[in-house]
Amino acid sequence: MDLLVLAAAEVPRAGDGGFWAETAGIMLVSPIVAFLAIIAAGKRLKYQGAEIAIGALALNLVWATVLFVQNMTEGVLHEVTFVIGNVGSGLSFELGWVVDGLSIMMYFLVSLVGLLVFIYAVGYMHGDRRVTWFFAAFSLFAGAMFILVGAPNLIQLIIGWEGVGLASYLLIGFYWEDHENVNAGNKAFMTNKVADIGLILGAILVGVSLGSFSFSDIDVASTAQDPALAGVAVVGGLLLFLGAMGKSAQFPFHIWLPDAMAGPTPVSALMHAATMVTAGIYLMARMFPFYQELAFDIRPWMVAIGAITLFAMGLLALVADDIKKVLAYSTVSQLGYMMTAVAAGGYTAGVFHLFTHAFFKALLFLGAGSVIHAVHSNNMSDMGGLRKFMPTTYTTFVIGSLALAGILPLAGFWSKDEILATLDYEGYTAVMWIAILGAFVTAFYMARAVALTFHGTYKGHGHPHESPRSMTVPLVALAVPSVLVGFLNIPGVQWPGIANFTDWLAVRVVAMGDHHPEGVDLFLAGAGLVAALAGIALGWVIFSPDRDTQRHRDRVEIPLLYPLLRRTYYIDDAALGIVRGTKGPLARTVDWVNTYVIDGIVNGVAAFSLLLGRFVYGGLDQRGIDGFFNGLSAVTDAAGGGVRRLQTGRVQQYAVSFIIGALVLVIVFIVSR
């Protein structure tokens, strides 16, 4: 309680939210309950469980909307925790929910976008084999995200974090009959797991050194320059950032996200807009005071990672043929923007971009899903000319593309402008220019996608048709905020009675201390807008259909660059090589080292003396050196083969080794006692 008193002194806008904040935990529970209910009874219902999932999210949207409006007008700051158990040495395991500006924004975003995607999925998944299971897993996905964003401490955040990972694994591999999809699910899970180690270690380090896992405690301690926390700031900050890199697909952990397209399109939409990839950015925003006050030393590195992600991944979207992959790389690039902004010190800028991006990226994915639903192919070479067949999808997709490209006055323009302003203010001028260049690339690939998909002549099979209403209504419903939400946070503009997005987000336990520009910087806004317009123009010039033949080119093969991009900078190949290495090169390396330790020392000495002898005898000639290395490699090769034979598969030989080993240990213990 004393925390909240302290906070009330520092943050002027902090009501307690009353009944709605006190019961906000319902939002964390309802999708999980829906998950269980769908599994239990979904098959017997008319829509095979979809109504339960939609009902749960609609309930959440009620709570989230009320809280959102309350937060607009008076601010809501409330925290409810239950002590589940004591871990020992003063640490306790608590669950609960936190209601403040950041989490309310996320509640609202996840329930609104989630609800629209769920409704859309009813039409998209109609007639599929496992509709019930789909909605069950989908509810679990949303529920885990609510648990994550509602977490009052790092432990609950990790629970939600892993829940999101699990649900994404289930959904990416949803069509598990195809082995490719299973692999994609595994890839996402494994990549995230590597990064999660960072999160868990970071959480332990921060929690144990501070004596509390609570975010409020961390916030307060960071602002107070707590020496215990300051001691672990750099390492803890890096570890937590590693976790965020995995979930938010920052370079080089981005490799899982494009493959995650294997899931049904609504999954991609939810994953890219609100639930999964935003988790890393959310963590960075949640821990913002920690990075702002204590771990600022590692900020340039984080900004660098974000900048690499935003630019390099945007380029990859240029060469993708799969429309979902274009959007996937675009998401990675936009996540790079968010990460760059939060890392550079732009709490509001990064989170605001998360907010706007969620709407138009969900819109774009659902639009892409609508197109895929119509032409039964992900490949843009099977599309073209769809403007005539699918007018609603076309209009909304173009709105989403313009918003993503950052065209005035759509949402993306304002949030991107804020990021540029932050980078400029914080002194990352080079990164700012990269971001402007990234805006150009963004506009360029979206122009290409729109031109290839909707213009020219139709190249696929069958007769495409507009999607059913349950799919087009969410598209329109998402197009509206994609146009409008940018106005919520025009620098220097205070909307009467509700202030603006910056003030809503600032409702935290402590003041965030990030910089807010007083007004629009016309130079930056102009530069961003010019870059976006130039990108659209160039994209249109290259990829628009020929006026007479209605044909268009779908690629420009620039030497060196094109193959590099097509192979995604060889990063996937490298990662695959590392993973496969357990069987291949890595195993041989380990084998070699093994052998070197056992036989190699003896033989190496022998070979060395042999070399010495030859050196004395005939000088250091070519054959001597060659012989040494050939001999050494032959010896290691043979010994490697011998070591390999230890793996006989005979259980009893293993048992003998095990018993002898245990005996030796026992004898050592007895003797040493």
Partner: protein, 101 residues
Amino acid sequence: MIANQFLVLAAALFSLGVYGLLVRRNVVLVLLSVELMLAAVNINLVVFEAMLVTPDAVGQVFALFVIAIAAAEVGIGLAIVLMIFRNRQSANIDELDLLRW
């Protein structure tokens, strides 16, 4: 009675079990040897209980747990043996070397 007479007997029984485990080729007999080892462990537990006399009879409780787990182990083990025998027409443990290099 001293504790060691039981402990040494249990050690002997355990070693016999290990011998059987290592030397037997019929999978069923290997499982029997494992049971012998578990019996030896149980004797140890009960002896320690008789020696220390805890208020909750912890040693005996754990002996009961071991018995229960052993029953489960035998059930699963024999099911696996059954499966292997059905597929390979053999109960020879030396032929079950699929997990090799």
